[in-house]
């Protein structure tokens, strides 16, 4: 299995949905899109075997992937959509309060250019209630950055480590994220990212504002942040129309394309598992 399938515990969520328990998930016959993406759904720079199935979140991404030469592309919806189904009977939070704010992150190999202090001032001026800042593992580990947000009076959290080369993946990363999202009334970021769509799907009001913090080596292949603002202007701003946001999130997370467990087992290559394929 491609190690990116394990990012954020995606494979674990899918295995739970398929009824395979909480152990180590079996190998997936394909690549699961591991984040909201304005390209072909796969992360640029990763090695992929040609024609191995791409298991994508949305129809739009599937069409785009086909148009750039990907074949064997299939829309299954985001793993987060499966998590929502797994936890649809959770008791509702007694009171949703404040904003969960996701400062845009790069991954370990990238460095964000931008001014955290300016962003903090903007958040304080905009957000009406208490603010929880969720930092990416990489920045959470940077004491200097974490302190900046803590000193601003924000609660600073991290959902966990997404994992790399099958190591240290937090299988409950998405679960923690969903739990946090459901505690908050708003979700915000300086870029339109997966977290915003997750937040909308979890019932938060979204907002995207502030310096988008350009990555030092951002891949411009698919148009970058400028294109994101052009294509989804409705989701940018300190306050956006909730109904529109819900509709777009539904399409981008492919919620309507969520498979049944048996269907998903077929598409992931888990239909004929041997006993040894499912580890404890």
């Amino acid at each position: 299995m491609h190690h990116a399938n394990h990012f954020y515990g995606h494979a674990h969520v899918l295995a739970r949905y398929c009824g395979l328990g909480e152990g180590h998930p079996p190998r997936i016959n394909g690549y699961v899109q591991h984040g909201w993406n304005i390209g072909d759904g796969l992360a640029p720079g990763h090695p992929y075997a040609d024609r191995t199935p791409s298991l994508l979140w949305s129809e739009q991404t599937r069409r785009r992937a086909w148009s750039v030469g990907r074949r064997n592309v299939v829309t299954i919806g985001a793993p987060f959509a499966y998590l929502l189904d797994l936890r649809r009977d959770d008791p509702p939070e007694p009171r949703r309060e404040g904003t969960i704010w996701y400062p845009f992150h790069g991954w370990e190999g990238q460095h964000v250019k931008g001014d955290h202090k300016e962003l903090i001032a903007r958040i304080r001026a905009t957000e009406p209630g208490p603010v929880t800042v969720c930092l990416y593992w990489h920045e959470y580990g940077m004491r200097r950055v974490r302190r900046l947000y803590e000193n601003a009076g924000f609660r600073v959290i991290c959902h966990g480590y997404r994992g790399h080369w099958w190591k240290d993946t937090d299988p409950f990363f998405l679960d923690k994220q969903l739990t946090e999202l459901r505690r908050h009334r708003r979700v915000a970021s300086n870029r339109l990212t997966s977290a915003i769509f997750y937040g909308i799907a979890a019932g938060c009001e979204p907002a995207v504002y502030g310096d988008p913090m350009i990555l030092s080596d951002e891949d411009p292949t698919f148009g970058g942040t400028a294109r994101i603002r052009r294509q989804w202007p409705e989701l940018h701003g300190e306050s956006v129309d909730q109904a529109t946001a819900v509709e777009i999130a539904r399409a981008e997370l492919g919620t309507d394309h969520r498979c049944t467990p048996a269907e998903l087992r077929e598409l992931l290559g888990w239909a004929n598992l041997q006993e040894d394929d499912v580890d404890d």
Binding site: P47, T52, D256
Partner: protein, 604 residues
């Protein structure tokens, strides 16, 4: 005084003594053509059958006075034995002073002229036949289509015909013969007749199993009935070798409004106005919209008639299958023509809608259609959750969709024993999955799915979580049902079940052997090989990288295991390790014992 019986075979000259034209392929009771003639010919009418026709037609026209004009002497003897008056010779041999109420040239005009004597040509033969139509009478003429579906899919070109009857190959290049319906009607009008209704004949000009009113066929381009009829007729010949799938081509032609334009042949009616009457006898409204013969022999021809409330089924009932009746209760499925009496449901064929949505990769439409279908099947289920009768066999190729309404198109295909709802649904979806994959259709899923896998996926799209065990049961049910409907014996049924279980996405589809689809199957295999090669290469590289990581980890472990702190720690946890090992061994023994007991219980 002696009474001389006139010879039943008149030989005016021009007969072919060592020749036979009678069709090799004969439909039960003469097929749709005989049913059409039975409607056209009133009792006591004088009928002239020109050219080689199935002897069953003569039997069907027992209520009329039938004369046959043939060129083959052996054929003449056969028909004379059936009670017809027979003239064997060229068209010039017809008695000059005799006329008939109905002249039938349903084998075309090519097989009318003999090798002997002068040639009249197409127009000359027509003129002679027109002269034989009595005032107020009718000519039924078959005209073959040089660009019919059968020609477009033929593995051998028409101009390469070297068979015995090809002493002269008359084709589309011969301006002396009509090459389309309009030209044929113009020739009929030019010969003094008034052209009337026309029927498109599919799939074989010599033995059409489907006759459809040509105007209706061109007008009702999305009719589920026509879709199913043309597909069923053209997919029937499992032994043929063709360039491409004739059923696909026929259904495409239907949707393009070219159903009659691409028909293999046409049956045209033309009337000779009665002297002194202004009434137009050509405007007959009592003729069927379609006549079709499908299914087991003996079922007869099913007709569709237009009425005030739309189209209605009409079935004569055919001859009951006396030999099969004692076993009918043992068969899992049967055809009950008596069920064909109500209105023909309007709508588009579900299979076509699904194929279209797959090609456009329109998951929303697929979900809407399949959920609607599964829900509709559910509402048809009995209290015990099983489907009986026609709905149990209501596959995507026999269900029409009108808006959100689903209906069984032809309710005569019926399950004798009820089927579990999920098995019935899985059977239908498996059949569709097999068509989709082996037919090489584009679809929105991955090439890694086998037929059973795609069936499960389609089930998921329909909102039902089907298991592979259900799909396996559905394949067994499909084998049993198909075997019953095809009348296979036990051995044939076992062979069929083996074949169905083995259907793979890289196989060509069932049905006629088509070069196009064989090539597509080969391309799919090649694509699959390319995918697997790329995967193997990637996996090899990954394995190399993981082996390197493992070596590094081993080196680290070796380094650490030599240290003093490791040895002390290991000594300290020895009791725990031993206990764990013992527990594992006990678990293994218990599991083995359980597994051993389970098969024993199953045997009991």
């Amino acid at each position: 005084m002696t009474t001389e019986t006139p010879p039943r075979v008149a030989l005016p000259g021009g007969e072919m003594l060592a020749w036979s034209d009678l069709p090799e392929r004969r439909l039960a009771e003469g097929g749709p053509l005989a049913a059409l003639l039975a409607r056209l010919v009133p009792a006591g009418a004088r009928v002239l059958l020109v050219g080689p026709h199935d002897p069953a037609l003569v039997a069907r026209l027992a209520h009329a006075a039938v004369t046959c004009l043939l060129r083959s002497h052996p054929d003449g003897v056969v028909l004379a034995d059936r009670g017809a008056r027979v003239v064997v010779g060229g068209p010039a041999g017809l008695p000059a002073d005799e006329q008939w109420d109905m002249v039938v040239a349903a084998a075309g005009l090519d097989a009318v002229e003999s090798v002997e004597g002068d040639r009249l040509g197409w127009d000359g033969v027509l003129a002679r036949l027109v002269a034989a139509v009595a005032p107020g009478g009718t000519l039924l003429l078959r005209v073959d289509n040089p660009l019919g579906v059968h020609r477009l899919v033929a593995a051998s070109p028409w101009y390469a015909d070297r068979s015995d009857r090809a002493w002269s190959v008359g084709g589309v290049l011969d301006a002396g013969r009509p090459a389309n319906q309009a030209q044929a009607r113009a020739r009929l009008a030019g010969a003094g007749l008034r052209p009337g209704a026309g029927f498109a004949a599919y799939p074989d000009p010599d033995a059409p199993t489907v006759l459809v009113d040509a105007d209706e066929l061109d007008r009702r381009t999305t009719s589920g009935l026509f879709d199913a009829m043309l597909h069923g007729a053209c997919a029937g010949d499992r032994e043929a070798t063709v360039l491409q799938d004739p059923a696909r081509l026929a259904v495409d032609a239907l949707h393009a409004g070219l159903g009659s334009t691409l028909a293999p042949s046409w049956l045209l009616l033309a009337h000779r106005p009665a002297t002194g009457t202004a009434a137009d006898p050509g405007g007959r409204t009592d003729l069927p919209v379609a006549l079709v013969q499908t299914g087991p022999p003996g079922v007869g021809v099913v007709e569709v008639h237009a009425g005030a409330g739309g189209w209605r089924w009409w079935a004569s009932g055919g001859t009951p299958r006396s030999e099969a009746a004692p076993f009918a209760s043992r068969e899992v499925a049967h055809r009950d023509v008596a069920a064909l009496h109500g209105p023909v449901p309007e709508g588009r064929l579900l299979r076509t809608l699904l194929l279209d949505a797959c090609l456009r990769r329109d998951l929303h439409t697929l979900r809407h259609l399949l959920r609607g279908y599964a829900t509709w099947l559910g509402t048809q289920a009995e209290a015990d959750g099983r489907l009986a009768g026609a709905t149990a066999l209501a596959g995507t190729d026999n269900v029409v969709v009108d808006g959100d309404e689903f209906a069984v198109l032809d309710p005569s295909w019926r399950a004798t024993a009820p089927l579990e709802l999920d098995v019935a649904l899985a059977r239908s979806l498996w059949r569709f999955a097999a068509v989709l994959l082996t037919g090489g259709y584009a679809h929105p899923w991955t090439s890694t799915l086998d037929v059973a896998g795609l069936t499960v996926v389609l089930g998921g799209v329909a909102g039902r979580d089907l298991s592979r065990a259900t799909v396996a049961a559905a394949v067994e049910a499909e084998a049993a049902i198909t075997a019953a409907l095809r009348g296979l014996d036990a051995e044939g049924r076992v062979r069929l079940a083996d074949e169905l279980r083995a259907v793979s996405p890289t196989d060509p589809p069932a049905g006629p052997h088509s070069y196009q689809q064989l090539r597509e199957a080969w391309l799919r295999q090649r694509e699959e090989m390319t995918r697997l090669s790329a995967l193997l290469k990637w996996t090899e590289e990954l394995l190399t990288s993981r082996e390197r990581a493992l070596r590094r980890a081993d080196a680290t472990i070796n380094l650490l295991s030599g240290s003093l702190s490791y040895r002390v720690g290991r000594l300290a946890i020895t009791p725990a390790r031993l206990a764990k090992r013992g527990a594992r061994a006990a678990k293994r023994r218990a599991t083995a014992a359980l597994n051993q007991r389970r098969p024993e219980q199953e045997q009991q």
